[in-house]
């Protein structure tokens, strides 16, 4: 029994370690199932949306023509009721037939809002991908502690912070790529729906921001979505590194979102808690321009007053989420670099 002599001594570089981590992550069956669930879910939901979105075509044109005829008839009636020397245009306005159909005529027809599903697609996909990224982060950390495989890895790379950072980078790359794939898949389905069930003509848009620069809006939303996914994955991994258990990490998230955040949202609304909640900041990071939230509630001595709202911008939401991530990741890193490993 003998071993072949190694030509070169084992190295301890970051890149091979990262490659090994990426292999480790992609070989995880749970991660494959989660990825399949995400992509399959998007395909499934998109297919349903395609079939239920404005299945009838031609309906809207008929209705617009009908509305125009009705308007023309009432205009003519209006004109007829006014003596000819009294300038009927001043009383009855311009003849409707002289105005081309505009977006307000088509406002009730979903077909002409079809492309507006694309930002909503990104919003939905990114939130779903963030949830999956959180689970992957929590599972990656928890499984390594429960199997003690982290201990074995430390016998090959004893620089704990380096190992931790490489693992985090590997997870971020994987979840980021998965989210990017999910966004592209969602957009592809959404684009098909928008094309076959509606119009790309931006003149029908009611949202100016989408109206003006749809492509740029989608791109920036997607990039912010990737940031959210990496934040979610980091938070999941950090919690798992602190509690050293997947189930406990998921439990913490469940208790937080189901109980803590709702209690804080309603109990501390008047004290300005809403701009600091994770859910609000996550949505605010994704939605173009952010979302309005209640900053505080002012009540005067005579019980007058009301909600004071503020715009939770993308930047503020990002900084808030970054702060929360740091609050968890820094202790997790410190703890891992200092604590004894079993």
């Amino acid at each position: 029994m003998s071993l072949p002599t190694l030509d070169a001594r084992p190295t301890h570089k970051a890149l091979p370690l990262l490659r090994s981590e990426l292999s480790r992550i992609t070989h995880r069956r749970l991660f494959r199932v989660l990825a399949l669930l995400l992509l399959g879910g998007i395909a499934f939901v998109s297919t349903i949306v395609f079939f239920v979105h404005s299945p009838e075509t031609g309906w809207s044109d008929e209705r617009v023509l009908q509305e125009q005829a009705t308007a023309q008839a009432s205009w003519e009636a209006c004109v007829a009721s006014i003596p000819s020397d009294k300038e009927p245009e001043r009383r009855c306005g311009q003849a409707p037939a002289e105005q081309p159909p505009n977006r307000f005529n088509y406002g009730a027809d979903d077909r002409y809002h079809a492309y507006q599903i694309l930002p909503i697609v990104i919003l939905g996909v990114c939130i779903a991908a963030s949830a999956i990224a959180f689970i992957m982060g929590a599972s990656a950390g928890g499984a390594e502690w429960s199997s003690r495989s982290m201990t074995l890895q430390l016998l090959f790379e004893p620089r704990r912070l380096r190992l931790l950072i490489v693992k985090w980078v590997g997870l971020s790359i994987t979840t980021g790529l998965l989210a990017a794939g999910a966004i592209l898949l969602g957009l592809a389905f959404g684009a098909v729906t928008a094309s076959l069930r509606g119009t790309w003509d931006p003149s029908y848009s009611e949202f100016e921001i989408v109206h003006d620069e749809l492509g740029q809006t989608l791109l920036y939303m997607g990039l912010r979505g990737l940031v959210l996914v990496v934040i979610a994955c980091t938070i999941g991994y950090a919690i798992a590194m602190l509690v050293r258990n997947t189930g406990a990490s998921l439990g913490v998230a469940f208790v937080y979102f189901v109980f803590v955040e709702n209690v804080v949202r309603f109990a501390l609304l008047r004290y300005g808690a809403q701009p600091f909640l994770l859910a609000e900041n996550s949505v605010a990071l994704l939605v173009p321009g952010g979302i309005p939230v209640i900053e505080r509630i002012e009540v005067g001595q005579d019980l007058s007053g009301g909600e004071v709202t503020m715009q939770l911008t993308n930047l503020r939401a990002f900084l808030t989420l970054l702060g929360y991530t740091a609050l968890l990741a820094v202790p997790a890193g410190w703890s891992f670099s200092r604590r004894d490993v079993g």
Binding site: L6, A8, P10, T11, L154, L155, D340, V341
Partner: protein
């Protein structure tokens, strides 16, 4: 130059609601280059804690440690490439196959894939290498752990209970492997409860108890130091022989059907005394102290004094 040198290492575990427990109480450990060094001690004596401290998995409160001439854990990254280790039960990712677990470790250190196959072959796990680790028996996991420890082709091998869970044939193979590695110049530090195993394959030994070294040195020296200098005597007339030896000034007693004479270095004087009374011993045998006996005596002594 010692390959492993630890001086005055202390490690105390704080326990919730209980008094702190000193796992290492100023422990010294010196392992010279090459050969197999046994590291013995009862459960809870601090063996695994010491190994974990050496490998950077636990932080000692005090003391100095060097491995391959470098201070650890500060410079552990510079020596870890030459160090293979197996601590207690091997910690592999259960859903992965044995081969994949090793491949990932090899990939992280840029060890060629051929080495994975070589170590799998060495521990006779090639046939089961594509099965998931969660389906492995304890012995198979142990073999895989040894394979992982050998993956780096280390010059220092630290093994904590490597025979744990192995069948007798497997234990013998591991013994042969460790002895061969020790003979080839690899320094093997072997922590084991199997005292017979240690006595068979170890050149030197350190026995610890309560976080302190009880004794250390070559196995033969440790055994000699615990030897009482007694000689067992086989005679046909036991009672008469006892009385003759007593009259001649020997301290003799009957133990398990044979006469044990204490404090005698040379059996010839016993034979001479008996022969003077026409009693001829059929055999004379120095009473050997094996490692188990030495271990139990040493750790009992230590326990009673602490």
């Amino acid at each position: 130059m010692p390959i492993i040198e630890a001086r005055r290492v202390r490690k105390t575990y704080r326990r919730r609601g209980k008094a702190p427990k000193a796992a290492l109480d100023g422990l010294d450990l010196v392992v010279e280059e090459g050969g197999v060094h046994g590291f013995l001690g009862p459960n809870g004596s601090g063996k695994t804690t010491m190994l974990r401290c050496l490998l950077g998995l636990a932080r000692p409160d005090d003391g100095e440690m060097h491995m391959l001439g470098r201070p650890v854990p500060d410079e552990l990254p510079s020596v870890i490439g030459d160090t293979g280790a197996l601590l207690e039960s091997p910690a592999f990712f259960p859903p992965f196959t044995g081969r994949l677990n090793l491949q990932l470790l090899a990939q992280s250190s840029q060890i060629p894939p051929a080495q994975v196959e070589a170590v799998l072959d060495l521990v006779q796990l090639s046939d089961a290498a594509d099965e998931r680790v969660k389906g492995y028996s304890l012995g198979m996991r142990q073999r895989l752990g040894i394979a992982a420890a050998l993956l780096k082709q280390p010059s220092v091998l630290i093994l904590d209970e490597p025979s744990n869970g192995l069948d007798p044939a497997g234990m013998r193979e591991v013994r042969h492997l460790l002895r061969a590695l020790g003979d080839s110049g690899v320094t093997v530090l072997l922590s084991s409860h199997l005292l017979g195993e240690v006595q068979q394959i170890c050149d030197t030994v350190t026995i610890v108890n309560h976080g302190r070294v009880v004794t250390t040195g070559a196995v033969a020296d440790v055994l000699r130091s615990r030897s009482s200098g007694a000689i067992a005597v086989g005679v046909s007339d036991v009672q008469r022989s006892l009385s003759v030896l007593g009259e001649a000034g020997f301290t003799a007693a009957l133990q398990e059907g044979r006469i044990i004479v204490d404090g005698v270095a040379d059996g010839a004087v016993i034979a001479e005394a008996l022969a003077a009374h026409q009693l001829y011993p059929s055999w004379l045998m120095p009473v050997q102290v094996d490692l188990e006996q030495a271990f139990l005596e040493l750790t009992d002594d230590e326990g009673s004094t602490s």
